[in-house]
């Protein structure tokens, strides 16, 4: 072990001396290798970045990996049981979905059905204002139409998700402005709403009265909008506390027949809670075959999709890396030719062939490592600069950290290139006969 250590140290010392003595050649080797290592690092970092961005979006839209979720029948009984079972539980949340209209009473909302504001079928689409009913959608005439056609007014329809707890532990919404719902204080008579970006867009465009109509209410509450989040949904959505709406609508009212209806999300560790909920739901008449929990596995699905693309790009990067290897090989062979006397002399003073090869490899490996460090540094700087400059267009870049896997890939690429580029020069160096020195 000590002998091995001595050889390793000797190779390292002599390798460093060699690099210092031939700075220009080392630099030229690094230049040829830099692009190859950079390509590998960029592909790896790019794939990681895209994967992270996709995962972040999926986590916001679908939920974090490992979360247990179930879509349940939205009957009043299952809503009641779910709300009671998960009340005040930090490891689970019940999401009941309803349609709500905020604005003037008795008018058709600007986006009937809660559709996006800029899409056909919604207000402001290419065909102008639209009215949709069970027979389909048609343009609303500017004059107000006949007596049978409801009059469009200043109201916005949105999907209202009532929550028994903080959903962000499962879906990490990005806070855009204001604040998120807090569930520790007493429920307010004026339900607090947090809008998503699409809903915020509607409220920004249209001045609507603060009156909210929900099916099943006997009176219309006055909501308070306290914040805006990015939940990844293209439709206008608002989030509210279940208990705050309970002042206006029974929490046991059936959930909407449209959309997810009643959804339950549980932490991966809440197995006991899951069993209790299933037990109580089946005991109160919910058919067991309609209760099905599943685990969210977004990363696995995404990884499969991205793997192929990543390998294709890595293949291309490897080709660029090979050019770098050829550069190191070229410079290495030329250097060995110049250092024949040195290598023969080193063998004369007791350096073995193996160590001599190790010295040449140490130099190329160190060169590869230096190059990898430079390429990784350049990539990290580029990512940081991209984050600063393009944060507006690509928000996920703002908090993006240089992925460590890309760094590891760069180091491996540098070392492999150093090894491949240095192997033949090392063998040549080891084969130099000592007699060359004696007869020189």
């Amino acid at each position: 072990m000590i002998r091995l250590s001595g050889r390793f140290r000797s190779a390292l010392i002599i390798g460093i001396q060699g690099i210092r003595a031939r700075k220009m050649r080392t630099f030229l080797s690094m230049v040829s290798l830099f692009l190859g290592v950079l390509a590998v690092v960029v592909v790896q970092a790019g794939a990681e970045t895209v994967e992270q961005a996709q995962l972040a979006n999926l986590a916001v839209q679908v939920g974090k990996d490992g979360t247990r979720q179930a879509y349940l029948p939205g009957s009043p009984e299952s809503v009641r049981v779910s709300n009671e079972t998960l009340a005040n539980r930090p490891d689970g949340v019940v999401i009941a979905t309803r349609q709500a209209i905020v604005g003037e009473p008795g008018v058709v909302p600007v986006n009937p059905g809660g559709t996006p504001f800029d899409q056909p079928g919604g207000y402001g689409g290419p065909g102008g204002p639209m009215y949709c009913d069970q027979y389909g959608c048609r343009p609303i005439s500017p004059g107000g139409g006949d007596a049978g056609t409801p009059v469009p007014g200043q109201a916005i329809e949105l999907t209202l998700n009532t929550l028994t707890g903080d959903i962000r532990q499962f879906k990490p919404f990005r806070q855009v402005s204001g604040e998120w719902l807090e569930f520790t204080s007493a429920p307010s008579l004026a339900p607090r709403l947090v809008l998503n970006l699409e809903a915020a867009k509607g409220f920004n465009r249209h001045q609507v009265p603060a009156e909210m109509r929900i099916d099943g209410t006997t009176a219309n509450p006055t909501p308070r909008i306290i914040g805006v989040v990015d939940d990844g949904s293209p439709q206008p959505v608002a989030y509210s506390r279940t208990d705050e709406l309970a002042n206006w609508i029974s929490p046991n009212t059936a959930a909407s027949e449209f959309g997810p209806g009643l959804q339950v999300m549980l932490a991966p560790t809440a197995g006991e809670l899951e069993r209790l909920l299933i037990l109580r739901l089946t005991a109160t008449g919910t058919p067991a075959d309609q209760i099905h929990f599943e685990t969210i596995q977004a990363r696995e699905n995404i990884a499969r999709d991205l793997a192929l693309i990543r390998w294709i790009f890595l293949g291309m990067a490897s080709l660029v890396l090979l050019i770098g290897v050829a550069g190191i090989l070229n410079v290495g062979l030329a250097t060995v030719g110049e250092r024949v006397e040195e290598f023969a002399l080193r063998r004369a003073v007791g350096t073995s062939r193996l160590l001599l090869a190790g010295i040449v490899l140490a130099e190329t490996l160190l060169t590869g490592l230096l190059t990898a460090t430079a390429a990784i540094g350049a990539s990290a700087l580029a990512l940081s600069a991209a984050g600063a400059l393009l944060a507006d267009q690509a928000p996920f870049l703002e908090d993006m950290v240089f992925p460590w896997r890309a760094g590891v890939a760069g180091v491996i690429a540098g070392l492999v290139a150093g090894l491949l580029g240095g192997l033949i020069p090392a063998i040549r160096a080891a084969r130099i006969p000592i007699a060359t020195v004696m007869r020189a």
Binding site: I2, R3, S5, G6, R7, R9, S10, A11, I13, I14, Q17, R20, A21, E341, E342, L345, R346, R347, A348, V349, G350, T351, S352, R353, L354, L355, P433, I434, A435, V437, M438, R439, A440
Partner: protein, 273 residues
């Protein structure tokens, strides 16, 4: 007492040509510890080849090679490297200093060769001791380009001595130096023999050969087993050449046709050291 070095019937043939050429033909040689031996001979007589075989740079085709009584005729490359490091010191005509290293680093090169590991402090101490031994410790940080020829060769000698070898092999170490500087280098190497180190010197310089305990002649691959003096070795009637003036040494041309002197005294008493 076991001899430091024994060669018995060593042969070496140069192959790869139409007719193989015999470089060494049955060489017998014994060197004791602390003994200094000069080998004279004209160019192409096989002196350097003999030295390369003794120094384990190459393998003989035949014969036996004993070092300290151990047969090392057939050694693995790894073992040969270890012996080169531990037992031999080499001094060449062309110094062979690495120009990108300082004098001290050139000397320490023999210590950083994978044959055992010395901590930096010990390495430095031994390097400085070797440089001090050849009288140039004050030039330790100088690169070869800033040293004179004599200083460079003394750095080379320090490199050869830094591992305290049992045998010093010098191949025309003064060939590129003036007489005065050459004498200095020879004295430095001779002083190593006083500490028990054997010395084999290949040279053309009669004065330098005179300072060795024994002088041997190598002619066309045959080493004359008889000990002789340089004067005898270059005797015109025996060597078929003009006697070279003392200190100048024969030129390769003048040495052409030299043969073993007749009647050389095998006991070689009274040869100056």
């Amino acid at each position: 007492m076991t001899a430091l070095l024994e060669l018995h019937g060593i042969t070496k043939t140069l192959k790869g040509q139409r007719t193989p050429r015999t470089i060494l033909d049955g060489v017998d040689l014994t060197v004791e510890s602390g003994e200094s031996v000069a080998i004279l001979g004209r160019s192409g007589s096989g002196k350097s080849t003999l030295l390369s075989l003794i120094g384990l740079f190459d393998r003989p085709d035949g014969g036996r090679y004993l070092l300290g009584g151990q047969d090392i005729t057939r050694l693995s490359e790894r073992r040969a490297a270890a012996l080169r490091s531990a037992e031999f010191g080499f001094v060449f005509q062309r110094f062979f200093l690495l120009k990108h290293l300082t004098a001290a680093q050139n000397v320490a090169m023999a210590l950083v060769n994978g044959q055992g590991w010395l901590p930096r402090r010990k390495r430095r101490a031994r390097t400085m001791a070797a440089l001090d031994q050849v009288g140039i410790a004050h030039l330790a940080k100088h690169r070869p380009a800033r040293l004179s020829g004599g200083e460079q060769q003394r750095v080379a000698v320090a490199r050869a001595l830094v591992r305290e070898p049992r045998l010093l092999l010098a191949d025309e170490p003064t060939g590129a130096l003036d007489t005065e500087t050459g004498n200095l280098v020879i004295e430095v190497m001779r002083s190593a023999t006083e500490r028990g180190c054997g010395l084999i010197l290949v040279t053309h310089d009669r004065d330098h050969a005179n300072k060795m305990r024994r002088v041997l002649r190598l002619d066309d691959g045959v080493l004359n087993p008889a000990t002789t003096t340089p004067d005898e070795a270059w005797t015109p009637h025996s060597a078929g050449m003009q006697a070279a003036p003392s200190g100048a040494g024969p030129t390769p041309e003048s040495a052409a046709g030299v043969s073993a002197p007749d009647g050389a005294d095998p006991t070689r008493e009274g040869v100056p050291r």
